[in-house]
């Protein structure tokens, strides 16, 4: 975890969304007589129509007996950057073998306890609404995933990522980096103190805004359970407009990414609490008693 943020060192490899050039700069006055019409900029209406059509086709399919989907579609054209980045062949079934039935081990050598508090990484208090995000990591059989690594990253309260390529005109916060880690407890629990992220504008289409979200990276007991996802906040008005959230076409599945406000987690005169449990796929391994009790992955063993 960097003590001081040096923007120049941040991953210059990652680019902002592809279609940057296609979006009109609203601050540039239009020329008096355009020599040739500019290519039409895609609007939210265009994207919403595509999202709606996909959603309706899915609802119809389910009505006709298709199974409910639980994961995002890899092929989801409204997220334009996915068009050339999804496999066209269906995923090939494999029975997980040996190494895939185990997971890398992380422990307290890897992660300091203070890394779960994103509000104390600098000299001062970050701006914004302080929140607590807590929950449990479970496997598909409801077993707690104990002693495993959870990583998060997010925008600051004004929706700005501390990343060289995020150049949108919202302020950086010198007291907020937006990166946290923790190791889950014996009951699979995790807990972060952070700042509620702002909505984030991107360039998928004109006037595209991401709902406020926190990126989560999770490991299970099997490498096959590895997942990276995003947690959202309840009641966000941007949900229906967002091609990334909507890439999960099933409402029940989408709801699984939305935290609930939890007054029991809220601390008086300090921070609002949000609860979010994460369920990984089922472990395919035959379990020993110690593992089932959550002993795995802890340095202190």
């Amino acid at each position: 975890m960097p003590e001081d943020v040096n923007l120049e060192t941040y991953n210059a490899d990652a680019l902002t969304e592809d279609l940057a050039d296609a979006v009109t700069d609203l601050h540039t006055p239009a020329p008096k007589a355009a020599p040739s019409p500019a290519p039409r900029v895609e609007t939210q209406q265009d994207l919403s129509a595509e999202i709606k059509a996909i959603g309706e086709a899915y609802a119809e399919a389910v009505k006709n007996g298709a199974p409910q989907e639980t994961q995002p579609r890899l092929d989801f054209a409204p997220y334009r950057s996915s068009i050339l980045r999804h496999p066209t062949k269906s995923l090939h079934h494999a029975d997980p073998e040996t190494i895939e039935l185990h997971s890398p081990a992380f422990g307290h050598q890897d992660v300091h306890a203070l890394e779960s508090d994103l509000t104390i990484q600098h000299n001062g208090e970050p701006q914004g609404e302080r929140i607590i995000v807590a929950g449990r990591v479970l496997d598909g059989d409801g077993r707690p995933v104990a002693g495993q690594l959870v990583e998060i990253w997010q925008a600051n309260s004004s929706g700005r990522y501390i990343h060289k390529r995020d150049q949108h005109p919202a302020p950086l916060d010198p007291n907020f980096t937006g990166v946290g880690r923790c190791i889950t407890g014996p009951d699979g629990s995790y807990r972060f103190v952070t700042i509620k992220p702002g909505a984030y504008p991107w360039k998928n289409h004109l006037n595209a805004w991401r709902p406020a979200h926190i990126h989560f990276s999770l490991f299970g007991t099997d490498f096959t359970q590895r997942i990276v996802t995003q947690m959202y906040f309840p009641g966000d008005q941007l949900f229906p407009l967002d091609p990334i959230y909507q890439s999960i076409v099933d409402q029940d599945a989408r709801d699984r990414l939305v935290a609930s406000y939890d007054h029991d987690l809220t601390e008086p005169e300090w921070a609002l609490g949000y609860n979010w449990d994460i369920v990984l796929t089922g472990s395919k391994r035959t379990w020993t008693e110690n593992e089932a009790l959550g002993a795995e992955g802890d340095d202190d063993e």
Partner: protein
């Protein structure tokens, strides 16, 4: 215990660069250490262009085929082999790990490295395997490889470089599309309902 439905994945997005990479993330062994090899490759999109914003993880047994369960991947001490590493590709889509040739985890089994692929524009992570090219007999008996036609099978077998390293390109789409794996048996990789 009741079966729970898995939480959906989402794209890693464009801004993982200040969060997921860390010092020596791609060095399962110190470069130049005895038995260390370079594992490298390029990640391509469906137009054949390198992807500059993908991040890969590898997870593998040691050279004897032992699966290690040691902490210390995030804060490497330079000596402990943890079997796991992470590498964000560079501007030209190239990744480089320093690791060892994995050993077979069972006598006669084909040795491979497990891989998870994340990228901006990729909605959910993908899994694949990097097989070592040498043991033809073991490769011929491998259950996954034998379930693939020769063209697709090729995409999972690394090339041995002159310096003893391995090259393994990943093609998310199109000609030579890498075989990506579904461990859930549903054809889509989704957990069963």
């Amino acid at each position: 215990m009741s079966k729970l439905i898995a939480t959906p994945g989402q794209t890693v997005g464009p801004f993982y660069g200040y969060a997921l990479p860390y010092e020596k993330d791609r060095e399962l062994l110190a470069p130049g250490a005895l038995d260390s090899i370079r594992l490298q490759g390029t990640v391509y999109d469906g137009a054949g262009h390198p992807i500059p914003d993908a991040i890969l993880e590898i997870w593998q047994p040691d050279s004897e085929g032992n699966i290690v369960s040691r902490t210390g991947s995030l804060v490497r001490d330079g000596y402990t082999f943890t079997g796991w590493g992470r590498c964000a590709v560079g501007n030209s889509g190239v990744y480089t790990f320093t690791t060892v040739n994995p050993g077979p985890t069972k006598p006669g089994a084909a040795a491979f490295i497990s891989v998870a692929v994340f990228a901006r524009g990729l909605m959910n992570r993908l899994f694949t395997r990097i097989y070592l090219p040498e043991n033809e007999e073991a490769l011929a008996k491998d259950p996954l490889l034998s379930s693939l036609d020769p063209e697709r099978r090729k995409t999972l077998i690394a090339r041995r470089d002159a310096d003893g390293g391995l090259t393994f390109d990943i093609r998310l789409q199109g000609e030579g599309e890498t075989v990506f794996l579904d461990f859930e048996g549903t054809g889509t990789g989704d957990a069963a309902q």
